[in-house]
Amino acid sequence: MKNRGKTDGKIFLLMITIALFVTMYIAGIIIFNSKGFAKPQVFLNLFISNAGLIVIAAGMTMVMITGGIDISVGSVVALTCMMLAWMMEVKGIGAVPALLTVLVIGIFFGLVQGFFIAYLKIQPFIVTLAGMFFARGMTAIISQEMISVKNELFLKWAKSKINLTFLGGTVNKKGVVNYPFLYPSVIIALVVLVLVFVALKYTKFGRTIYAVGGNEQSALMMGLNVKRTKLLVYVINGFLCALGGFLFCLNTCAGFVEQAKGFEMEAIASAVIGGTLLSGGVGNVFGSLFGVLIKGTIETFITFQGTLSSWWTKITIAALLAFFILLQSLFAKAKEK
């Protein structure tokens, strides 16, 4: 019975998040109804513009469940986009080899960070802070100018629409039927999300991650390989960062130094809002998905409102993050009593 109370607490945090999202969305439909907020495409756009973030938040959730954190993700995304753009446009490498190279670099980046964190036991924050500056600096070393992607295959990946005919189309002035659509990047993001969910919930590796995050000492005494688990989590996270960066690049089709600044904050905020505990041991990737959607909704609000500057997104996200952190902290205190 004791266990049940604990589960209820976890579900409660997730419920708050889902309720918050639904409330915000309904509020949006009421306020901005005249501007077409209720259209299915507006909802689908949440996924389209945040496909990269969904993948990265999934990786971040895994890292945070082990009790660690990764603040290098934003810079790694910038590095990934820049590498992709540079390889395709300057070096003339095909889209597929460029993508593979980037993914390998992501894995390698995760491997190095994971080694320092798991085997040398340096605080994850310090290691990934260094990683953050390293990746951003490397981006500047590759090119300080913006590189636009003109590779045909890449643009084909980016622009091929998947029409969702069952949602019903609208006929525009020229008589062409427009259906609500998704890009392939969304499909990739959702597949990754499901894979991570299954891995966390139903595999031995996934359960080990929870055990390590819950109590490292106990996990070690149970005979679990704590170091290797942590290393693997950072490697997977590195891979997901590169993949997320690729999806991000499909949206922007360019690489530049200032890209994806503050992305780490969005990913961490999404995970925290979705009910992942900063202390580790508790977390759910679907919660993080809702975290991402909430962030997307705030952005949509700001776009629809029209007069607010984009800085408000960051400030609102920070305020939400602070709110949810306080909520978690109160929960932890209540549990102690």
Binding site: I126, G131, Q144, M265, W311, K314
Partner: protein, 351 residues
């Protein structure tokens, strides 16, 4: 004379020897490419030269690293919001002095009001961080991450997304120099902050308390020290330092550039603390070490600039230095090295 010998002995002690050695190494390495590195000339009544530039430019960082040292020592975590807090302080100061206008040629409000407001804004940010860390028991880096991202946004809102210029001679003094005095003003500001902090730590029990809390906050709480209050105060102090540093940085460019004031300085400050021989895990600390560390970083930056590396690319080298220092501090690495060594010795014996 006796005191001098003691001082020299203190300097050659293991704790400060490494940071000093690094500083000298970086400075001397410049001689290879720029033989005039140590040359000092006087232009318009102000000292000029690479070495003066290092000392001058390092001032912001010295002030920051003093605050950072307190935070690291007391809480075993770092405050990554300092750069953003600097830009908030600069924006607040310029906003008040310009009275909401974008460019002014004379103060719209008294100078002292702007300065006090900026320092107060810094302390307020510190209070927010301190509250989250000390009272809410949130990991320092996550807590300060909030302001790290939101801080520049707030500064942008204050300046309305534009750069506020204060074209007043007396405003430039803090970041440049006071007429008649050949040494740049920031050097004095940094010196003042360091001396005041040093006196505060040595003449009161605060320094001891901070170390005690950093080594074991639970034990010190049981001993009757209010651990959470000490940690809270350390963050407020760090915010104050960031505020002062932001003022100097804003005065240098006589404007509030929310995007660029204090950019990437958080890493430099952490690096300065680590380079000064302080453990990032908290506990015992050396203020002087951090100060020397800060000068070393600036020397490194100036060296890289002199070699033609662009400001965007410099973080790469600094990140590598951070990782090396932190790895060297790691006890696990020492254990590994030991295991490797004994393994080899055993291997020899078997052979």
């Amino acid at each position: 004379m006796n005191k001098l010998i003691v001082f020299v002995k203190k300097l050659t002690g293991t704790r400060l020897f490494l940071p000093l050695f690094c500083l000298v190494l970086v400075l001397l390495s410049n001689l290879i490419k720029t033989p005039t590195f140590f040359q000092v000339t006087i232009k318009n009544g102000v000292l000029y030269g690479y070495i003066i530039d290092v000392i001058n430019r390092a001032s912001d960082l010295v002030i920051l690293s003093v605050g950072m040292t307190m935070v690291v020592a007391a809480s075993g975590g770092t405050d990554i919001s300092v750069g953003a807090v600097m830009s908030v302080a600069g924006a607040v100061c310029c906003y008040i002095l310009a009275g909401g206008l974008q460019t002014v040629n004379e103060f719209q409000n008294p100078y002292i009001l702007g300065v006090l407001a900026a320092v107060f804004a810094g302390m307020l940010c510190g209070c927010f961080n301190g509250f989250l860390v000390a009272k809410m028991k949130i990991q320092p880096m996550v807590a300060t991450l909030i302001l790290f991202t939101a801080g520049r946004g707030m500064a942008q809102l204050i300046t309305r997304g534009q750069i506020t210029y204060i074209r007043v001679e007396s405003y430039k003094m803090l970041g440049a120099s006071i007429p008649g005095i050949p040494v740049p003003t920031p050097v004095f500001v940094a010196l003042l902050v360091v001396i005041l902090t040093y006196v505060l730590l040595k003449k009161t029990t605060l320094g001891l308390y901070i170390q005690t809390v950093g080594i074991n906050s639970r034990a010190s709480r049981l001993m009757g020290i209010k651990s959470s209050r000490i940690i809270f105060l350390s963050y407020v102090f760090c915010g104050l330092c960031a505020g002062v540093s932001g003022l100097v940085a804003s005065s240098r460019i006589y404007s509030a550039d929310a995007n660029n004031i204090g950019l990437n300085l958080e890493l430099d400050a952490i690096l300065a603390v680590a380079l000064g021989g302080n453990s990032l895990g908290g506990g015992k600390f050396s203020l002087l070490g951090s100060v020397i560390g800060a000068y070393t970083i600036q020397a490194l930056s100036t060296t890289l600039y002199a070699m033609g590396v662009s400001p965007d690319q410099i973080p790469v080298y600094k990140a590598i230095v951070v990782v090396i220092i932190v790895a060297l501090q790691s006890t696990e690495l020492k254990k590994m090295a030991k295991r490797y060594q004994t393994g080899r010795e055993v291997g020899k014996k078997v052979a």
